[in-house]
Point group: C2
Chain length 411, copies 2
């Protein structure tokens, strides 16, 4: 009695979605960038010397100092916690959201394992196979992967220095497109660096109200403006906004603690999705961040330091690029971590430059992985965040050498 | 020009899966159990006085002591880390897996945000809508929710004191059932306390090889045997096993760090799913656990202490239950955290007892949420893990009072 002559191979058991969202591009690029001796301008990695190590050590000491007895603070920080997050942190996130957008209470806040999880939970909660998602082209690849894996049909929308061309989005909507959500990075867009203008925020919010989609605002860089402040969230104009409030670029990424703010109609569904996904965000990290964010001195001072650090690095990088790489064209970044550059010489494309740069010991990200319909073959992203002065000078020299090699190679 | 007269309400945008996996039962029960003055025998909450607080404080001090410079250990623990986990922890998990099952290298290991995430990633990777999943009936509700939400058709399999009735599973397979995966809790099953016997492990593994499904072994309680040891993983008999190795019940739950071991054909897909889901598990918790598990003294000593603690609590609880609640029938637990009890008096069901118990200030879990096809109306789960002696005595007295009230109510 052999009902199955040949049992199915494990690989044949895979769900269809495993074929949808898959991209090894970024993993490959980041692995190459992490190789010994390589200077990385590739990842969106915050400067390690910017982490508030002493302040976190102090918060940790405080947690453990309160450990006496089973109701102590250390024990609480090591125990299970609610799926939506510990109450003090949700209150602090609500206060921060209210200061930068519409007023919200903690009942509309959830703590997530980084904004990447927030994005994934939003996709799981809203997207069925075949649903439309509109987003910038180019876009953050982590978002593109999430939406593809959820089975979404992508509706790429071009942008310019003021962010998503909401007039183009409107034309698509009038022509019949019905995205369930529109994904934007409202400040210092990854990879383009664009800031969605006040006028376009109003327009996008009006479109959300008129056509009934949800705006997903992913805003890891909004507090990293080198000059001036930030613009209010679109949620001051629409009740259909989910805000993803990462702390990875402004405190540190390794704790995997972020805030999410959602409309009342969605927050319960997002919490239910998280309960299935991982029960809760790590309790210890939540208490550490509640300590830091609960200190009214901490964040303003720390962010001022970050703006000075990154602003200085951006200016130093700009000087080097303009002096040594005249074949690169770019806008001066107004915040964030990146230069988004165009290759002006038709003889060398960004994939070729990427390969030669790696051979010279410097990692960049070519444009193609970020692009959906747009042509990424002549654009590239450079991070100025994590290299110090000597590394930056050496990295730019290596890029110059890579350019020469690529030219020689191509001719 | 008003192309949309009435934009869709936000609630109408929800993905279909939001209607599939939803159960508020456990959230409601846990919220009630957390109310002030309520003694909880409800959740699977480990004893707070069992957490290795001093040892974790020491590991944390060590991380921060190494913080000098941007390559220091504190900075590494606060930075991004690989999606599959930091190398030292993956090596330690591989060693622990090899000691309790088939020999594996770190290339088949991934660190997850608790075993709940491991389960969710497995479901996302294997299950399309309509695929079959076989599992014990009753089962851990968190697993049931994950599989339902993934669109699975559940194939509940009855069990007894030796765990899943693999003979019944075989009949179903011979009758044409083709589950993509079979989910088991191999030691001290939640909620029944059963241990899957050696003979049934062999049988299950043989069925996996013959019919081509994947065995998912979720094993949070395997190290909590009050007498004797653990049985080897089914992976010594089959190459189609995913092992979920929680540390929530044996170190602490709040760090959300667990190990997953998968066949070579699956591990890359699971890592890709995690990259979309949350990029990586929190780095800080990974380094803390790598410190503890890398200390050859720590785990054996700590587990011996846990077995003594929980074994003593189980015996004390058993004495009280047999003396004061003669209407409860149960097997003495051989490990884990729970009593699985049957109500022997036909006049009172477990839902009624649950309501009266809560009114008396003690929380239990009635059987229905755990049950798929089985009748849960006369069974219930009691945790003995987190109450101390005085709380336990008081809790059992309150249950006795609840019983009297329920009887009076019903007559």
């Amino acid at each position: 009695m052999t009902p199955v002559q040949q049992p199915p191979a494990i690989g044949s058991l895979l769900a269809r979605r495993t074929g949808w969202g898959r991209s090894d591009a970024v993993s490959r690029i980041l692995a190459a960038a992490a190789a010994p001796g390589v200077l990385s301008m590739a990842g969106g990695i915050p400067a390690p010397d910017s982490f508030p190590v002493a302040r976190l050590a102090e918060a940790t000491d405080r947690l453990f100092a309160g450990s006496a007895g089973s109701g102590g603070s250390a024990v609480r920080a090591l125990q299970y916690a609610p799926t939506d997050g510990i109450a003090p942190l949700r209150e602090l996130i609500a206060a921060r959201a209210s200061a930068t957008g519409s007023t919200v209470g903690p009942d509309r806040v959830m703590v997530t394992a980084g904004s990447q999880q927030g994005l994934d939970l939003v996709a799981q909660t809203l997207i069925d196979e075949g649903d439309e998602v509109a987003l910038d082209d180019p876009s953050y690849l982590g978002a593109v992967q999430v939406f593809r894996r959820a089975g979404a049909r992508l509706l790429p929308v071009p942008g310019d220095a003021e962010g998503m061309r909401t007039d183009v989005l409107e034309q698509r909507l009038l022509a019949g497109a019905r995205p369930k959500l529109v994904y934007v990075v409202p400040h210092f867009h990854n990879p383009t660096g664009a800031v969605l203008s006040e006028e376009r925020r109003r327009h996008l919010a009006a479109l959300a109200e008129r056509f009934g989609f949800v705006i997903v605002e992913d805003d890891p860089y909004g507090d990293l403006a080198f000059e001036g402040g930030r613009l209010p969230s679109t949620d001051v104009h629409s009740g259909r906004v989910v805000r993803l409030m990462s702390l990875s670029k402004t405190v540190c990424p390794g704790l995997r603690v972020a805030g999410l703010v959602a409309p009342a109609e969605l927050i319960g569904e997002l919490v239910a999705a998280k309960q299935c996904g991982d029960l809760q965000t790590n309790t210890f990290g939540q208490y550490l961040l509640a300590d830091l964010l609960g200190d009214p001195e901490f964040l303003p001072t720390h962010l001022a330091g970050l703006r000075t650090l990154y602003g200085g690095r951006a200016r130093a990088m700009e000087t080097l690029l303009r002096e040594q790489l005249p074949w690169l064209d770019f806008e001066r970044p107004r915040g964030g971590l990146f230069f988004w550059c165009r290759l002006t010489d038709p003889r060398v494309g960004s994939d070729a430059l990427y390969a030669h740069a790696l051979a010279q010991g410097v990692a960049i990200v070519p444009g193609t992985p970020f692009c959906i319909d747009e042509d990424g073959s002549r654009v590239l992203r450079l991070s100025f965040a994590s290299l110090d002065g000597a590394q930056r000078r050496e990295g730019v020299s290596r890029l110059a050498a890579a350019w020469e090699k690529a030219l020689a190679d191509g001719v």
